[in-house]
């Protein structure tokens, strides 16, 4: 793979350096705000790895975020395992869960896969509520408190870099090519020798792994969460909108989508409290109906052949 020396690379490097140095100048609220943006980019990118490249729309993706959060929290709290191993294990559990769940669920078509995953996520929420001996149930889970917010900035940032890196690899590798073949026409891909079963499960697992990492970081960062918080369907909603708004199946898509939506929310909540979600709804409707290239074109290309 040649390394092209072009403007886009310089721009990207400049951005990364800027974000890496930012904590020297910013703190407090601004630091937290940007860390949140990183979190959303990570989540949107994780969904993008699955939906953008295989075309499977996962309406329950928050499940993997929640699994990461709970495993990390439980390991740290009950077994005293330090953060990094706990988070890593949480992410692996998320990834494996995705593969296990994917085996039966990925046989479903389009909307049924989406609904099936939604049901899975909702079910997990109630499982977390019921198993209150382990998960704290409705009382939530309180982790040991660590307030070095610069630390969280950097690990969220690192996760974003990881997710982008994997997305880039999807774009350039043979594996990624196989995925895109599945996205365009699964049957044709199968026929031409792509092991679709294996490939899409791997993609699902990787995307869940990333979501699991973000979940683990979230748990430690917030020091407290409860089932309705980390298994919230609205989180999946945001992920989907961010990924599609920016452009599913692209590297920059999740970044742009997440940043844009976060900016809107910041703008709106102060002045127009209720209208954030209404605006989001309008964006979705307008995008689906009227933007033929860009978003819808991508959906047509990427997701169309699914059904």
């Amino acid at each position: 793979m040649k390394i092209p020396v072009s403007a886009k690379w310089w721009a990207a490097i400049a951005l990364v350096i800027l974000m890496a140095l930012a904590p020297l100048r910013i703190s407090g609220y601004s630091l937290r705000f940007i860390t949140f943006i990183f979190m959303w980019i990570g989540l949107a990118a994780s969904l993008n790895l699955l939906t953008g490249y295989t075309g499977y729309l996962d309406f329950g993706h928050v499940a993997f975020f929640g699994i990461g959060a709970y495993i990390t929290g439980i390991l740290m709290l009950k077994l005293g395992i330090p953060f990094f191993p706990a988070m890593f294990i949480g992410a692996i559990v998320s990834g494996i869960t995705a593969v296990v769940v994917g085996i039966p669920t990925m046989r479903l078509k389009g909307a049924y896969f989406a609904i099936g995953m939604l049901v899975f996520a909702e079910g997990l929420k109630h499982v977390a509520l019921e198993l209150d001996g382990i998960t704290g149930g409705g009382n939530g889970l309180s982790l040991p408190i660590y307030t070095n917010y610069v630390f969280f900035y950097y690990i969220m940032f690192s996760t974003v870099l990881l997710a982008i890196g994997i997305t880039y690899w999807f774009e350039r590798s043979k594996f990624g090519l196989a995925l895109m073949a599945i996205r365009e026409a699964e049957l044709a891909a199968e026929v031409s020798g792509v092991n679709t079963f294996y490939c899409k499960l791997i993609a699902f697992g990787i995307s869940a792994f990333i979501a699991g990492i973000v979940g683990g970081i979230y748990a430690y960062w917030m020091s407290f969460f409860y089932p309705g918080d980390v298994f919230n369907v609205l989180t999946t909603v945001h992920m989907i909108i961010m990924a599609f708004l920016g452009g599913a199946g692209t590297i920059l898509g999740p970044i742009i989508g997440a940043t844009f939506l976060a900016a809107i929310e910041e703008f709106l909540w102060a002045e127009f409290k209720y209208t954030y979600l209404i605006t989001v709804g309008f964006i979705v409707v307008v995008v689906v109906l009227y933007i033929p290239r860009g978003i819808v074109g991508l959906i047509r290309e990427k997701v169309f052949a699914r059904s």
């Binding site: 937290r32 407290f224 409290k273």
Partner: protein
């Protein structure tokens, strides 16, 4: 370079510019001096706690207005008015956290008034603890919040698991004496804490707990649970509740013909909505109160309890409920702590620490009740009474020196009403 690269570069540059301007905007210089005390509060204006958040905000505003009517907080011979900056946390704990950090680092508030609900107090208090900013909250009294060893969190409510005391104390004095109790609650920290309290005090007062059940918060149809409870025929029903839970219990109890001799709700019935939506079906329900117009409280700045309760009622149409009373008491506690610390605005870390130390030492009576924080930061001093709905109004029935009228027991059966 080709078109695609150009697009991508363009997008990156736009992002760069956006971030730059954001960073620039965030380094706004702050005024060195301020002639007023600035309080911050991230509180629910929207979301599932919107109604309760609005009620709590009313209480904070009521306090602020009274303080400013007096000219402000007097320190060193000069009076400093107060102002409260509010942000909407959408009933979401992570938003509360974000906004509390914003209030502290951007708006540079002196002190924090807490959000509604233990769910939101929990994570946001880690921020105030980190920045060493005292938070006074009146709506998050689930016991686990106070087991974390925090020094900057103060709550003027009594702990949720102690709320059961006044109900059962009153009920076990009735004759014929009730023997059995059923306890239900949705699965969320406050309700579960209250339910645990009901159980502990039931055992303390010699009542038999015939049923104890918690259920998912989303459940609207609790008739199956009420049916189970009905089958065990308890004398008393205790519910870890907020407004909508209480409404559903009353409505569905009537539907299935469940007639306990008393309904005890831990919170949520003392709002105008409850009686408005239920009408006659709201009668006889009990909820704890931490004040009544007849309570023997008074303080030099705000007058008597009677004055507080009646003027609050005049302004908002209903007597203050437990969180509103606690908010008032907490605000007064802040004033005392500020005065004893002798600090003037703006507060820096050292001054805030002084305020914090004074808060921890407080032992006083306010127009809204006594305030003395135990070592974990929660109020241990204020006695609790009971209010009951009679003829569409919530009246205090216990203890006797607070009572406005007699307690009605047992609750008449549905078909006899």
């Amino acid at each position: 370079m080709n078109r695609k690269n150009f697009e991508i570069t363009g997008k990156i540059f736009i992002l760069l510019i956006a971030i730059f301007s954001f960073l620039l905007a965030s380094s706004i210089p702050v005024q060195a001096e301020r002639q007023k005390f600035l309080f911050g509060s991230a509180i629910a204006h929207t979301g599932k706690f919107a109604r309760s958040g609005a009620n709590l905000k009313n209480a904070y505003d009521y306090w602020a207005k009274r303080v400013n009517d007096l000219g402000g907080i007097e320190v060193g011979g000069k009076k400093y008015p107060v102002e409260i900056v509010y942000y909407d946390d959408k009933s979401d704990p992570k938003t509360t956290t974000k906004l509390v950090e914003k209030l502290i680092t951007r708006d540079k508030v002196d002190l924090i008034f807490g959000p509604f609900s233990s769910l939101c107090v929990g994570p946001s208090s880690t921020i105030t603890e980190k920045y060493k900013v005292p938070m006074l909250e009146a709506a998050g009294n689930a016991r686990p919040l106070f087991k974390r060893g925090f020094k900057y969190l103060f709550c003027t409510l009594r702990p949720a698991d102690e709320l059961a005391d006044p109900y059962l104390r009153l009920l076990t004095r009735q004759s014929p004496k009730p023997k059995s109790v059923a306890i239900i609650a949705p699965k969320s920290p406050f309700y579960m804490s209250a339910a645990k309290g009901f159980k502990a005090y039931a055992e303390k007062y010699g009542l038999n707990v015939v049923h104890y059940e918690t259920y998912p918060v989303e459940m609207q149809d609790i008739t199956p649970i009420l049916q189970k409870v009905k089958a065990k025929n308890p004398d008393i029903l205790c519910v870890g509740s907020h407004t909508v839970v209480a409404m559903m219990v009353m409505k569905q109890s009537k539907e299935i013909g469940f007639n306990p001799k008393a309904y005890c709700f831990s919170f949520g019935t003392l709002v105008p909505d409850f009686a408005k939506e239920l009408g006659k079906d709201a009668e006889y329900v009990m909820e704890y109160v931490s004040i009544s117009a007849n309570a023997p409280y008074s303080d030099p700045l705000f007058g008597t309890a009677k004055h507080f309760v009646t003027s609050f009622k005049r302004e908002y149409g209903i007597s203050p409920d437990s969180t509103q009373t606690a908010a008032m008491a907490g605000g007064i506690a802040f004033i005392k702590a500020i005065q004893r610390a002798g600090v003037i605005p703006p507060l820096d870390e050292k001054k805030r620490m002084k305020v914090r130390d004074e808060m921890a030492k407080l032992d006083l009576i306010t127009a809204a009740g006594p305030v003395r924080f135990d070592p974990t930061g929660i109020n241990e001093a204020n006695p609790l009474g009971i209010s009951q709905y009679q003829n569409g109004k919530a009246v205090c029935v216990d203890p006797s020196d607070w009572a406005e009228t007699k307690f009605v027991y047992p609750t008449p059966k549905w078909k006899d009403r």
